[in-house]
Structures are given as structure tokens and as C-alpha cells.
């Protein structure tokens, strides 16, 4: 039922990402366990849960920054299913650069702080083989405008930007290569409320415009409500509840989700 609904929503025949009973153990400890879900093109999936519930472990495994202990992560590439953990390193790295993007919680992790804003945005283009300076420059200023940074600041270093601008710059840097799938780890963490709201607006517009699929990890239910189509609630490494975002937040089934939703006003 859910699957039918989603495939008709995005108009796509096939999910872009398919995770089957994926687990990551740290020795005896559980990072996340038996996680399964499907993600369709253009869909935004939220992952919520308290700290230590396995959200970031899940994201790291999905984004190929970490290897799952068990299970499959299948990514659809030109009609073929690629099992990410089983791919060879060069293929995985190529895929990471071409088809994926990762937005880190701290912009310092995702940006090159010693490189100007234009260089930061242009890096992925140059990675992909672009060797025309004027062209790189043009695309970089377009993207600065799209993320609402004054294109005059193209030659400024990110360290001269405010926290919110750094985060927007990071988003531009990730989206410039037009990835099909974006992973975001607490993209609005550490920003004040008004900046957060602007950033959310921007993210929603960009992701919708470009038809990107996204997995967003957050502990902020308001962010989940605003940004995501579907929600997964995690606790102690397990997915305890998943469904449409409004459904999960308005009519939580699991006791923990009820606790979570009653703890904040959304």
C-alpha cells in the first residue's frame, strides 16, 4: 500500500535505494540492527530518534563512510542494482562523487576552509573534468545566488562567513554536481531558529526543484515535519516505527514515539 502510494507520488517505477536487513555491530554493541526500507526518487526520508539510537551509524553505512556488518544496500544506477558494500573502492568513490552528496552537520567537515567559496563549489565540477575557468566561475556564482549568498562573495574564504552561510555554502557545494541522492546529518544543527527556518525553506525548494531523493537524520521533530515525506523512528538500533511523516507524528503507534511526540510541541 505504502509502496504503491509512493511510486505514484513520484511517478517513478523503481526505488533509487533499497536497504535490506542492514546491521552494523561494534563488537558486542549494536550500532543499528535489521534496518530495511526503500527510497523513491524525489522522496525525502527522515530518521529521528534520541542520541545513541543508531541514526548516525545508519547514515554512515548508507553513505558508504562505514561498512555494514550484515545486509544489503542496493542503489539503482541506470536500471541496475549495485550493492554498495560489495562494490570495489574505486567504483564506490566514483559513485560518491557523481551520484551522491553528503551534507555534514558541521560545515567545517564538508567545506575546505582554506579555499574560497567559488573554489569550494567548483571542486566537484573540476573533479568531473571541467577545465574551463570561466564556466566554473559562472556555475559557482549561479549557485551562490541559489543558496542566497551574494555572488560578490565568491572569492571570500568560508571562515569569513556566518554559520548559516557556511551551511548554505556546503549545500551548494554538494548540490552543484546534481546528485540523485543526498545524505544529510542534522543539517540545521547549531543554527538559531530564524536561520534554521530559512535554511529549511531553501533545502525544501532545492530538493523539490531538482527531484533529489534525500535521507535526513535529525533529532528535531519540527525539521522532520517540515522537510520529510516519510519518517523512520529509531531506538536502540532498531527501527521501531515508520510511515508517512504526518501519520507518524499525529498518530504515533509505538510507546516510544508517543513519548517523543508528546515531549515537544510541533
Amino acid at each position: 500500500m505504502n509502496e504503491l502510494l509512493h511510486s505514484s507520488l513520484s511517478g517513478a517505477q523503481q526505488p533509487i535505494l533499497q536497504v535490506e536487513r542492514m546491521s552494523r555491530f561494534y563488537g558486542e554493541r549494536v550500532g543499528c540492527q535489521a534496518v530495511s526500507f526503500k527510497l523513491w526518487p524525489g522522496e525525502i526520508l527522515g530518521v529521528v530518534g534520541e542520541s545513541g539510537s543508531g541514526k548516525s551509524t545508519l547514515l554512515r553505512c548508507l553513505a558508504a563512510l562505514d561498512q555494514p556488518t550484515q545486509g544489503d544496500i542496493l542503489f539503482s544506477e541506470q536500471g541496475e542494482w549495485l550493492n554498495i558494500p560489495a562494490l570495489s573502492e574505486p567504483k564506490r568513490r566514483a559513485l560518491m562523487r557523481r551520484a551522491w552528496g553528503i551534507v555534514h552537520q558541521n560545515p567545517r567537515d564538508g567545506l575546505r576552509m582554506g579555499v574560497s567559496a567559488g573554489g569550494n563549489i567548483g571542486e566537484r565540477l573540476m573533479d568531473a573534468g571541467e577545465r574551463n575557468y570561466a564556466q566554473i566561475r559562472r556555475v559557482a556564482s549561479e549557485w551562490l545566488a541559489r543558496v542566497e549568498i551574494d555572488p560578490d562573495r565568491i572569492d571570500d574564504l568560508p571562515r569569513h562567513f556566518s554559520g548559516g552561510m557556511q551551511q548554505r555554502l556546503q549545500i551548494a557545494r554538494v548540490l552543484v554536481s546534481e546528485p540523485r541522492l543526498v545524505f544529510m546529518d542534522e543539517p540545521t544543527g547549531g543554527l538559531d531558529v530564524s536561520v534554521q527556518a530559512k535554511l529549511l525553506d531553501l533545502l525544501r525548494a532545492l530538493v523539490r526543484d531538482m527531484g533529489i531523493a534525500a535521507v535526513i537524520v535529525t533529532h528535531d521533530l519540527a525539521v522532520a515535519r517540515l522537510l520529510t515525506d516519510r519518517l523512520m523512528v529509531m531506538k536502540d538500533g532498531f527501527v521501531i516505527e515508520q510511515g508517512l511523516t504526518d501519520q507518524v507524528l499525529d498518530d504515533p503507534q509505538h510507546a516510544y514515539t508517543q513519548l517523543l511526540t508528546s515531549a515537544v510541541l510541533v
Binding site: 574560497s116 573554489g119 571542486e123 573540476m126 577545465r131 566554473i136
Partner: protein
């Protein structure tokens, strides 16, 4: 100086070429691998040498591993044969091998160099040994050695281009004038060592074997004879070399790389060839022409 030159045999207190035979073998094995994979940095067991690391110990170890009784050694420091570093290294090898040394490019079979490639084209029977302070061209951009090795392995060289982009964005042109990164054999990006970018085109399809030794960083790499070496650039900002308005004020050459020399405390300056051997040869040629006419 004269005393050293009159020594006919090697100093008997040292093994021939200073290094022991096993070490020389190890260095030569690393060099063979380096030649087989042009531009790839091969780790080697860099030894303590009787001079400080960072003063050319990598180049010296390569030279020591290669030099034989029939070789004739030339040592260049910033283009000159008569500076402290060049003179000391030449004396060192004269002492531990008893072999011939020279200041003439034509006579040399091994040329160890720091910061310059001779102006005169090299031949197939010559070997150019570079002293390398930092073999990793990506180091200033990516501090992690693990990551830079991966980047080389998977040919992820966008970052290097970012460095050139930054130069153009800040200065309007690529302001890197030395250690200008090159693409070797269309596969590995390598550092040409701190030679001026003026010398970069000489590396392309050079008939001589080019070997690079970094003693402190424990790496060797190589560019075999007749290998394509391309300096990185942008389509709309192509690679260019330095030019000067005036010829060398000693020999009149317009083709050589010029050094600026301050000649007094009034701010007078002189632009002269940095390659002393080349300059000398040009002046002799001028003089004989003048005498002939």
C-alpha cells in the same frame, strides 16, 4: 679543493659511493619500480647521510646508488655549480668514489640538481637526479597521507585544479611560479620539485632519465626518457612560462632563466643567467665570435 681533485682512488675508509652495497641495491630496486610506473611515488628506506635531511639527502642517495667508476658527476644548486651545497656534494662524491666531477653539462653522465634543469638539452646517456623537499604535490591541499595515496590511486585530481583555480581567482592568473604541478604520462600528478615553471616544458619528452629523491619524506619517483609531461592548466588560462624584458646582462642570452642579483647597497640590480655553466659557455662563444670577426 685541489687536494680533493688530485685524489685518484676513493677514500678507503668508506665503501664505494658511501652507502653499503645492500642499501644501494635497495635504492636501485625502488628506482626500477619508479621507472616502471612514471610519476608514482615509491617508498624507500632512506638512510642517515652525512648532511642534514632537507639538504639533498634523497638526491645524494640516488646518485650514490647509481654512480660507477666510468661516471662523471655534475652538481647544480639553483643553477650554479659554485654554491656551497653544489661544491660540498661534488667534493663528497669525489672523495667517496674517487670518480670524475665536472661543471660542464656535456661531460656529465649524472647531474644532481636542486631547483633547476640545465639550459642545454640533455642526452639519452645522461641521468638527471633531482633533490626533492616535498614529493607530494597534493600535500598543502590534503594533509592526510592515506587520503592523498587514495587520490593518486583513483586519479581524483580535482583538488589540484582547485589550487590553480584559487590562484586565478585571487591574482587573475596562475601565480604558482615554482613546483608547478605536472601530469606524468597522463596518469600521475607529480611535483617537479621547486624548479621554476620555466623549466617545466624541458621535462616533456626529455631524452634523459629523470629521477627524484626525497630523503626526509622517504620517497623516490621517476620520469623515464621520452615521457609525456604536461603542466596543468585551464582551457581559458593556458600554461605559460616566465619571460624577461632584457637579455642576460653577462652573456646576452634571451633564452635562459634569469636571476635577479643585487650588486650594491644603492639598489642596483643585474639580471643574469641562473645556469652558470650555460652563461660561461655563451660568453666564450661571444668572445671567440668577436675575435674571429
Amino acid at each position: 679543493m685541489t687536494q680533493v681533485q688530485t685524489i685518484t682512488g676513493a677514500d678507503p675508509h668508506y665503501n664505494y659511493g658511501y652507502l653499503d652495497e645492500q642499501t644501494k641495491r635497495m635504492v636501485r630496486r625502488a628506482l626500477l619500480k619508479a621507472v616502471a610506473i612514471p610519476g608514482y611515488q615509491v617508498p624507500f628506506g632512506s638512510r642517515e647521510m652525512p648532511l642534514a635531511r632537507g639538504w639533498g639527502t634523497g638526491g645524494i642517495q640516488i646518485t650514490a646508488a647509481l654512480i660507477g667508476p666510468s661516471d662523471c658527476l655534475k652538481v647544480i644548486d639553483q643553477g650554479a655549480d659554485d654554491t656551497t651545497n653544489a661544491v660540498s656534494i661534488r667534493q663528497f662524491f669525489a672523495r667517496v668514489t674517487g670518480g670524475r666531477t665536472t661543471e660542464k653539462v656535456d661531460e656529465a653522465t649524472i647531474i644532481q640538481t636542486r631547483h633547476r634543469i640545465p639550459e642545454k638539452p640533455l642526452r639519452e646517456d645522461q641521468i638527471l637526479v633531482y633533490q626533492v623537499p616535498q614529493p607530494e604535490p597534493l600535500r598543502k591541499l590534503e594533509p592526510s597521507e592515506v587520503e592523498t595515496r587514495n587520490m593518486h590511486a583513483w586519479e581524483e585530481y580535482g583538488l589540484m585544479q582547485v589550487r590553480l583555480y584559487e590562484d586565478i581567482a585571487r591574482f587573475g592568473h596562475v601565480a604558482t611560479t615554482y613546483a608547478y604541478p605536472v601530469m606524468v604520462n597522463e596518469r600521475y600528478i607529480a611535483s617537479p620539485t621547486p624548479i621554476p615553471k620555466f623549466d617545466n616544458p624541458k621535462m616533456d619528452m626529455m631524452p634523459a632519465l629523470q629521477l627524484f629523491g626525497a630523503g626526509r619524506e622517504k620517497r623516490v619517483y621517476a620520469i623515464p626518457p621520452y615521457t609525456r609531461v604536461r603542466s596543468l592548466d585551464f582551457e581559458d588560462h593556458p600554461f605559460t612560462v616566465q619571460t624577461w624584458d632584457k637579455p642576460c646582462e653577462l652573456c646576452g642570452s634571451r633564452l635562459s632563466y634569469l636571476d635577479e642579483v643585487i650588486v650594491d647597497d644603492q639598489g642596483s640590480r643585474l639580471f643574469v643567467c641562473s645556469d652558470t655553466d650555460y652563461c660561461e659557455e655563451q660568453r666564450q662563444a661571444n668572445a671567440s665570435e668577436g675575435a674571429g670577426a
